[in-house]
Amino acid sequence: MTQPTMTLPPAVIGRPAAPPAALTAAAQVAIRVLRKFVRTPGLWAMGIVQSALFLFAFRYVFGGAAHVPGSSYVDYLVPGYVATIVLFTGGGIAVAVADDRAQGLTDRLLSLPIPRLALVLGRASADFATNVWSILFTAAAGFLFGFRLVDGAAHALGALGLCLVYGVVFTVVFMVIGLFAPNAQAAQGMSMIAFVLAFISSTYVPVATMPGWLQAFARYQPITPMVDAVHAQLAGSTSDVALALAWSAALLLVFTPIAVLRYRRA
C-alpha cells in the first residue's frame, strides 16, 4: 500500500506529454484499416473478382436477352453497375466494423485518449479508399467487357465524381450497419438490404419494364435517381443530378450523426 506509485513503464518509457492531435489519431486508425485491407487478399481481391464475375454474367449471359431502347445493353448496364458496386462490396465495411467491436479492438480504441470523431473520421476515410478501389476496378472491367464512352471522356469525369460521392454515402451507411449488428455474420446478413435496393432500381434494366407495383418502389428509392444521374452525366446532361445529390446529402445527414453517436457508446 505504501509502495510508491512510480510504475515501470513511465520510468522507462515516459508518459506522452499530451493526447494525440485529432488528425494524427485519425491517420493511425485509417492506416490500420488500410493495412488490413491490403494485406488480406480475401478483402481486396474477393470483392473485385465477384464484381467482375457478375458484370461478366450480366453482360454476356443475360445481356443477349436484354434489350433497352436507345443503346446497346452493355452501354446501358455498365454506368449503373459501377455506380452501385459499393452496395455489394461495401458489405465488407459493415463486417469489419462489427468484427472490430466483437474482437475488442473498438473497446481498446475507445479507451485511449483520442477524440471519438477522430475514430469515425479515420475509419470512414480508409473505408472510402476501399470503395474507390472497387469503383475504379469495376469501371476498368466495364471497359474491358465492351463499354464505350459515346460522348467523350470529359463527361466521364462528372459521372465518376458522382460514383465517388455515392462511395462516401455508402461508406457511412455500412459503418452504421456494422455498428448495430451484434456480430460479423449478422452484419453480412444486414448488408443484403443493399442488394434489394440495387436490384429493384434502374441499374440493370429500365424501370419501365417492371410490373407497375414494383415500378412505384423502384422509382422512389434513392438508387434509381443516383444511377439515372450517372447516365445523364455521361450524355452531357444534368437531369437527375440534383435529385441524386439531394439523396446523397440526406443519407449523409442522417447516417453520420448515427455513426458518431453509436461509436461513443459502442
Binding site: M1, L8, P9, G14, P20, R32, G104, I114
Partner: protein
C-alpha cells in the same frame, strides 16, 4: 500528492443493459501499489466493471473514481491514466507485433520517435523480440496475450486493466502471462485484473474482491480472505458405494462441519473446520477414522477449495447464475469460453 489518492473508489456503482443489471450497487476501495483481482463466475459483472473503469459504459447510478478522476465527469483524464487489455486480445492480426505497438503508442500521444522507443521497450519487457517482426496472426495464444498486454503499456499508464487475461490459454501460456503480470506489478504498476480462476487470484493478487450478481460479496487482502473462506477441502472417494454414508460420518466427526455427498461419483467432501486446523492434520484423523469404520478408500486427498466452494461458503448458492441448474456452476471450473 497522488500517492494519497486511492487507485479506485466505487460506491454504489450501478450499470444496466436494458433489463439486465450488470452491476448492482458495487462498492470497492483500493489503494495504489498493489495487484487487485476481481474474482467471480461468468456473468457476475467483471467485464462490466472493467469497462466502467475504462469509461466505456455509462453508469446508471453511484460513483466511480479512478486515481481521483470521476469517470462520468472527466473521462478524458481517466483515459490518460489507464491501459486496457480486454477479454479478447485486441491486436490487429494482419499487422506485426511491432506495428501494433507503434500504432497504439501513437494513439496514446507519443511522437513517432518516442512511439518507436516505447514499442521497443515493451517488446524487451515482455520478451517478444523473437516474434515482433511477424504478423500477429501467426502468434500463439500466449504471445498474442502478451502483445495485447504490451499494447496497453506503451502509453505508460498508471493503471493497467486486464480482463480475464488467461481465459482460454493453455497452462504454459498461462504461466507466461502470469510471469509478465507479476513482473509488472512487482515493478510498481497498479494492476486490476479479473478472473474466474481462484488459482489465478491466489497466484497473483494482493487484494481480492469477490463479485457475484453485480455486488461485492467479500473484499480484502488475499491472506485474510483465505483464512476466512478459502479453507482446505478433504475429499474421499469410496470403493464401495454403500460405504458412502459411513465415510461422510467420519468426515463430519473429525471436522465438525457438514460434509457434501455426491453419490454419482461416490465422493464425499468437507471443508476443514478452521484456519488453525490445516487440512493435512485433519487428513490424518480422517484416515484413522475411515480405517476404524473399515471403509475402503478409492482416493483421498486435501485440496484447495474451488471457486464453487468459496461461493457456496460466501453466498449460500453455487457459482453459476441463479436459477441455472447446478451443472452450470460446475462447468466454471473447466476452462470456460
Amino acid at each position: 500528492m497522488s500517492d494519497q489518492v486511492p487507485l479506485l473508489e466505487a460506491s454504489g456503482l450501478t450499470v444496466r443493459f436494458g433489463k439486465v443489471t450488470a452491476l448492482d450497487g458495487f462498492d470497492l476501495v483500493a489503494g495504489t501499489g498493489q495487484l487487485l483481482a476481481i474474482l467471480g463466475p461468468n456473468g457476475a459483472g467483471k467485464t462490466t466493471f472493467v469497462r466502467a473503469v475504462a469509461t466505456l459504459v455509462r453508469p446508471a447510478g453511484g460513483t466511480l473514481r479512478v486515481l481521483g478522476h470521476d469517470v462520468a465527469g472527466d473521462p478524458i483524464a481517466v483515459r490518460r491514466e489507464i491501459g486496457l487489455a480486454g477479454q479478447f486480445a485486441a491486436v490487429e492480426p494482419t499487422m506485426t507485433g511491432l506495428e501494433n505497438l507503434q500504432m497504439t503508442a501513437r494513439l496514446f500521444g507519443h511522437r513517432r520517435r518516442a512511439a518507436a522507443r516505447a514499442a521497443a521497450t515493451v517488446i524487451d519487457l515482455l520478451d517478444l523480440g523473437a516474434v515482433a517482426g511477424r504478423r500477429c496472426a501467426t502468434y500463439s495464444g500466449g504471445q498474442r496475450r502478451r502483445l495485447d498486454l504490451g499494447a496497453s503499456l506503451v502509453g505508460a499508464p498508471r493503471l493497467l486493466l486486464l480482463d480475464e487475461p488467461t481465459t482460454g490459454l493453455d497452462p504454459v501460456s498461462r504461466r507466461e502471462v502470469w510471469a509478465a503480470v507479476r513482473g509488472l506489478a512487482q515493478a510498481g504498476t497498479n494492476v486490476l485484473l479479473t478472473t474466474h480462476y481462484l488459482e489465478e487470484a491466489d497466484e497473483l493478487a494482493d487484494h481480492v474482491v469477490i463479485i457475484d450478481h453485480g455486488r461485492a460479496v467479500a473484499a480484502g487482502p488475499l491472506a485474510e480472505l483465505k483464512a476466512n473462506i478459502g479453507r482446505d477441502v478433504i475429499e474421499v472417494e469410496v470403493s464401495q458405494p454403500g460405504q458412502l454414508p459411513a465415510a461422510a460420518q467420519v468426515l463430519s466427526a473429525v471436522t465438525g462441519s457438514e460434509p457434501r455427498v455426491d453419490p454419482l461419483v461416490h465422493r464425499a467432501s468437507v471443508t476443514v473446520g478452521s484456519a488453525s486446523q490445516p487440512g493435512a492434520a485433519a487428513l490424518a484423523a480422517v484416515l484413522t477414522g475411515l480405517a476404524g469404520q473399515h471403509v475402503s478408500v478409492g482416493e483421498i486427498g486435501v485440496r484447495r477449495p474451488t471457486l464453487d466452494e468459496v461461493f457456496l461458503t460466501l453466498t449460500g448458492h453455487r457459482a453459476g447464475r441463479q436459477g441455472q441448474p447446478e451443472s452450470a456452476g460446475r462447468r466454471l471450473q473447466g476452462s470456460a469460453r
